[in-house]
């Protein structure tokens, strides 16, 4: 599927990754435009059911990224997110959604280059995986 343009949504925290993505811009580094960012105060705020909602609404891939361990602006929110992510993988598996459609990462406010790389790699991977076709089924399950 050469001309498939995936739709990827990134849930990021305000303090590290959002600022890191700002730095990518300030440094004029280029990345694939298939990713759009939704800002949260902290990855600890992210209810992972929202990820299912995103899949049900037609996302092909999702990035969740916050502060590095021990750097959380709110001291421990990123750890909660990590724990949720570990459990959430099981649910994804159960629902038959390829776990590699979700990329969990830490990007700090100083890692503009890492953000660009993360987006490009994720886009590439999702492009290889092809469109997510299970959204109708997810809706059938009452998600979204």
């Amino acid at each position: 599927m050469p001309d498939f343009q995936p739709k990827i949504v990134a849930f990021v925290c305000n303090w590290c990754t959002y600022a890191g993505a700002d730095l990518t811009g300030t440094s004029r580094m280029k990345y694939s435009p298939q990713v759009s960012i939704i800002r949260f105060p902290c990855t600890g705020r992210i209810d992972f059911m929202l990820l299912l909602k995103a899949f049900a609404s037609g996302a092909d891939g999702i990035i969740v990224s916050g502060c590095h361990p021990n750097d959380c602006h709110y001291s421990s929110g990123n750890f909660h997110a990590r724990r949720r992510w570990i459990i959430f993988r099981g649910l994804l598996d159960f629902l038959g959604i390829d776990v590699s459609r979700v990329q969990f990462s830490w990007v700090s406010a100083a890692e503009g280059a890492k953000w660009a790389q993360l987006v490009n790699e994720t886009s590439e991977r999702i492009r290889e995986l092809g469109p997510f076709t299970g959204y109708q089924r997810l809706r059938g399950l009452g998600v979204g």
Binding site: Q5, K7, V9, Y18, A19, A21, D22, T24, G25, T26, R28, M29, K30, Y31, S32, P33, Q34, S36, I37, I38, R39, F40, P41, C42, G44, R45, I46, D47, F48, L50, K53, A54, S57, G58, A59, H73, Y74, S75, S76, G77, H80, R84, A116, Y135
Partner: protein, 671 residues
């Protein structure tokens, strides 16, 4: 019906070079609910802002989306503009089409399309935004300083001199802390008590300072600006208003052989005592554990001798309750005592002592009146070995961190020893000499070059006694790790600086976080070093990490400045982007089921229990309640809540769901 205005900025050419801003404006205009959509070269300029303000008034807008740079850049600018035009500032959002779009993608349809997506997302969000009012919290302009060492003294004086009332709580019978125990101080070798005691007196006499010595914090409730502290004043067993500090009782007390805490166990004190002659307040306490009367029911000699009849054997502890607006924690440090280093014989050989004991030996007010005599037999030591890093940098038996102050005080000790014992031979076993600080390196060089202190680079393996000498078995790694044995008369261990015992308990009382070594944690290691994660509680001195006197004093003044800044406001104003718990009309009252998972998740202890009662006072249910003074708006509770009863303003469920749907909904895009 929503009437949203969308304002698209060219940012000169920063945006318009890769994004077709006209197309974006046209697309935005077609989004349901958008009543106004324009593009302009510099939206943040005065005319640009005017554009926004005019539109708000003329088009009667209910929300604004500025599609420009990052909200981290200009969100405050446009929110202020909105407020000036009469629109609640929290109904304004930024769509970041510069950092997240025009700067990172090539010119083309995909980039323009993404810019439209971003705008659509934020329009969907702003439709769900609610008008919010900034939070206003009153401030009680009284500071509580916990700990009366040099850091607590400095903080208290600075806050008091700024015109605010201070309550200073000290656990021991006198303020002064460890600094009062020191002989002379590096790198200037001025007498510690000479520079400290005037400050102590100033505290006692300052009209703005209330001193509770021999007292401890019992509990703390409340939040920034509005704390309620309960302080336990331990019974001194005398009426402080009557006691004149004449000291007769101390002279007559028959129980005299109690190891003095102040002299680090090297001197003795009676059962009724002040820790040292310059104590503030200069009023004794009765040590009930050792006092003959409390042990046997007989004696009462002090009572008979007291010229003012101040002794009160039946005095109970007293609890004082105070309202304070800010707290400075200045509880200091301790040194690692005990025989955790069996190979060095600490606690086994009387002539193996720690640094604090050496300070007392060297101090003119110490048990030897400043004469250098070793504890076991009072002999003047001819050879003294100082062992640095005795417990520091030692994950196996001690602590892994560097205690920071030992290199300097060990050089000072060796120097003081040479000043007192001419011809004495001081050796220092060290791993590294860390002398970063103004005039510090020069001080250590002086010890080596001018004072004849011999430095041996290596760690001591063992100390044992042989024929009345202490044999120190070390090696010099600069000489091929050659074994070196020194027969010493006195061995001084630079034992590690550790947190005060009870620091953990105190931190839990205050809801302040602490590190794995029980040192209190600062809010940010670089940029917020005197604040804790709990708003309104500040740190001063070695309770945060080992520190020397200048650093402690500097941080203490920093904490005082923070308190003064806080107290300069009549009310605290904060962004209302905080969590709220669902409340509804009866009979539901709230969808919260009272599981309090949110409470366990909250890093700020901002979640309280609220009892909902009927008119008859009957308890209907207990639900969570967010303390707006404490909540920092991280939203961790929101993700934890099983019934979606807690939500965060500015990033609510509704808002983020709307964003996701607007961004993605395949086939349901606005056609």
């Amino acid at each position: 019906m929503a009437r949203i205005g969308v304002f698209i900025c060219h940012c000169g050419e920063n945006i318009s070079a890769t994004v077709d801003v006209k197309k974006v404006a046209a697309a935005a205009a077609r989004i349901p609910g958008v009543a106004h959509s324009v593009e302009y070269k510099y939206m943040c300029s005065d005319p640009g802002q005017q554009l926004v303000k005019n539109a708000i008034r003329e088009k009667n807008l209910t929300g604004v989306v500025v599609a420009a740079c990052s909200p981290r850049m200009h969100e405050p600018t446009f929110r202020r503009a909105c407020a000036e035009a009469g629109l609640n500032p929290f109904l304004c959002e930024m769509a970041n089409i510069r950092e997240h779009c025009s700067w990172v993608h090539e010119k083309g349809d995909a980039t323009t399309e993404k810019a439209v997506d971003i705008v659509r997302t934020l329009v969907a969000k702003v439709k769900k935004n609610k008008a919010l009012q900034p939070i206003q919290v009153p401030v009680t302009k009284v500071a509580l300083v916990i700990g009366g060492g040099i850091a607590g003294i400095q903080s208290s004086l600075d806050i008091a001199n700024a015109g605010h009332r201070v309550i200073l709580v000290e656990r021991e019978p006198s303020i002064g802390g460890h600094m009062s125990q020191l002989s002379e101080t590096f790198p200037t070798l001025d007498c510690s008590q000479c520079i400290l005691t005037p400050r102590m007196v100033e505290v006692a006499q300052h009209p703005n300072i209330t001193l509770y010595s021999y007292a401890e914090l019992e509990s703390l409730d409340g939040f920034i600006g509005n704390f309620k502290a309960r302080i336990r004043k331990k019974a001194r067993s005398l009426d402080e208003t009557l006691c004149t500090g004449c000291g007769l009782c101390m002279q007559k007390c028959p129980t005299r052989r109690i190891p003095s805490e102040f002299d680090a166990g090297l001197g003795l004190r009676p059962a009724i005592y002040v820790p040292f002659p310059q104590a503030v307040p200069n009023k004794p306490v009765i040590d009930r554990e050792h006092c003959t009367y409390y042990r046997t029911g007989k004696c009462r000699l002090c009572e008979k001798i007291c010229p003012t009849q101040a002794i009160r054997f039946d005095q109970p502890d007293e609890i004082v309750e105070v309202d304070v607006g800010a707290i400075v924690l200045a509880t200091g440090f301790d040194i690692k005592h005990s025989d955790f280093f069996p190979e060095y014989g600490y606690g086994r050989y009387p002539d193996v002592i720690d640094g604090l004991q050496f300070e007392r030996l060297a101090s003119a007010s110490g048990p030897t009146l400043g004469e250098m005599r070793r504890p076991s037999d009072g002999k003047v030591p001819e050879t003294v070995v100082f062992i640095a890093c005795a417990g520091s940098r030692d994950p196996a038996k001690g602590i892994e961190y560097c205690s920071k102050i030992c290199c300097m005080y060990t050089a000072k000790h060796a120097m003081l020893y040479r000043h007192k014992v001419h011809g004495g031979k001081p050796y220092v076993f060290y791993m590294d000499v860390r002398a970063g600080g103004k005039m510090y390196e020069e001080f250590v060089r002086r010890a080596m070059e001018e004072e004849g202190v011999q430095y041996v680079r290596g760690r001591v393996s063992r100390v044992f006694e042989r024929n009345g000498k202490l044999v120190v078995k070390g090696a010099d790694t600069l000489l091929g790790a050659r074994p070196i044995e020194i027969e010493a008369d006195l061995v001084v261990l630079a034992t590690a600086a550790v947190a005060q015992p009870g620091a953990e308990e105190l931190a839990q009382k205050l809801h302040v976080s602490y590190d794995t070594h029980q040192f209190f944690a600062e809010a940010h290691p670089k940029l917020r070093p005197v604040e804790t994660n709990t708003a309104g509680i500040f740190l001063a001195g070695a309770c945060q990490a080992p520190k020397d006197i200048p650093e402690s004093v500097a941080q203490a003044s920093g904490a005082a400045a923070k308190v003064a800044a806080l107290f300069s406001q009549a009310e605290l104003v904060r962004d209302p982007l905080i969590a709220v718990v669902d409340r509804q009309a009866p009979p539901v009252y709230s969808s919260c089921v009272g599981c309090f998972l949110c409470q366990s998740a909250c890093p700020y202890q901002a979640i309280e229990k609220e009892e909902i009662r009927g008119r008859d006072g009957q308890l209907i249910k207990t639900v969570a309640k967010v303390n707006p003074g404490l909540c920092q708006g991280c939203g961790t509770c929101v993700a934890f809540c099983r019934t979606k009863s807690i939500d965060i303003q500015g990033f609510s469920h509704e808002q983020v769901h709307a964003e996701v749907l607007a961004l993605l909904n395949r086939g349901e895009r606005d056609a």
